[in-house]
């Protein structure tokens, strides 16, 4: 049975229980589910919101490509990702990744791999809205995110 990644880009929030249920309901072959949720941090109350811009079409396509690699590489039974766009306040969800597999390490690796590549390869850009009303500017790419890719080899 081929595994089809379920990838969505949306403005609205997501329900983690419901998303896990979509991958696990009625199945008895899944032994491990790992979820990753990325949230907007307040940066010590200096941030009022992040604004997320994306490239419609390419965002879905690129995350799907990476998700398919994760399925093959780690032998996942299912993978889904939801990435929000628009204005997101501190404490709110930005991104959800779920990986399922028979045994635990594959699910951990699958979700971790997808997040590392999503951070640097998915066409999203974050703008800071500062609490004091000043222009917070666009978030710079993070060298640590590029470095994180190195653990997955070539």
């Amino acid at each position: 049975m081929s595994v089809k990644p379920d990838i969505r880009i949306q403005a609205k929030d997501f329900d983690i229980n419901a998303e896990i249920g979509k991958l696990t309901k009625g199945r008895t072959d899944i032994g491990a589910v790992v979820t990753f949720t990325g949230l907007c941090r307040g940066e010590g109350d200096t941030l009022s919101a992040l604004e997320l811009e994306h490239y419609p079409g390419m965002a879905e396509a690129e995350i799907t490509r990476i998700a398919k690699q994760a399925v093959t590489r780690f032998g996942l039974l299912g993978i889904s990702a939801i990435h929000r766009y628009g204005k997101i306040k501190p404490g709110e969800n930005i991104v959800l990744v779920i990986a399922t597999s028979p045994h635990r390490q594959a699910s951990f690796d699958g979700a971790n791999f997808l997040m590392d590549f999503l951070k640097t390869r998915a066409p999203f850009w974050k703008k800071n809205h500062r609490a004091d009303g000043e222009d917070g500017g666009w978030v710079d790419a993070n060298d640590a995110d590029d470095d994180a890719l190195s653990k997955w080899g070539k």
Partner: protein, 86 residues
């Protein structure tokens, strides 16, 4: 050749538009040629193209790593800063 150019994040803000249809001169064959041509389109374009080393490109929604890549019969070229999703 008519092609759609798409801009994101601070490129979009600097150019004052998210996309445009442009008529590319015959001489523009590669991404590098495209950058050279954009540079000639006014001060804002020239300023942004100073950052060409970090600017990223997608041809018809697929990442392109090498600026010598040929544009061919692409319909849409997106240029944008490094991505900061997740």
């Amino acid at each position: 050749m008519t092609i759609k150019l798409v801009y994101f994040a601070w490129l979009r803000e600097r150019f004052g538009m998210g996309e445009e249809q442009v008529e590319l001169p015959e001489s523009v064959k590669s991404i590098s040629d495209l950058f050279d041509w954009l540079e000639t389109r006014g001060e804002e374009f020239a300023n942004v193209m100073e950052h060409r080393k970090i600017i990223q490109v997608a041809i018809d929604q697929e990442h392109v790593q090498d600026s010598s890549t040929l544009i061919g019969d692409a319909k849409e070229i997106a240029i944008f800063p490094p991505m900061t999703g997740g």
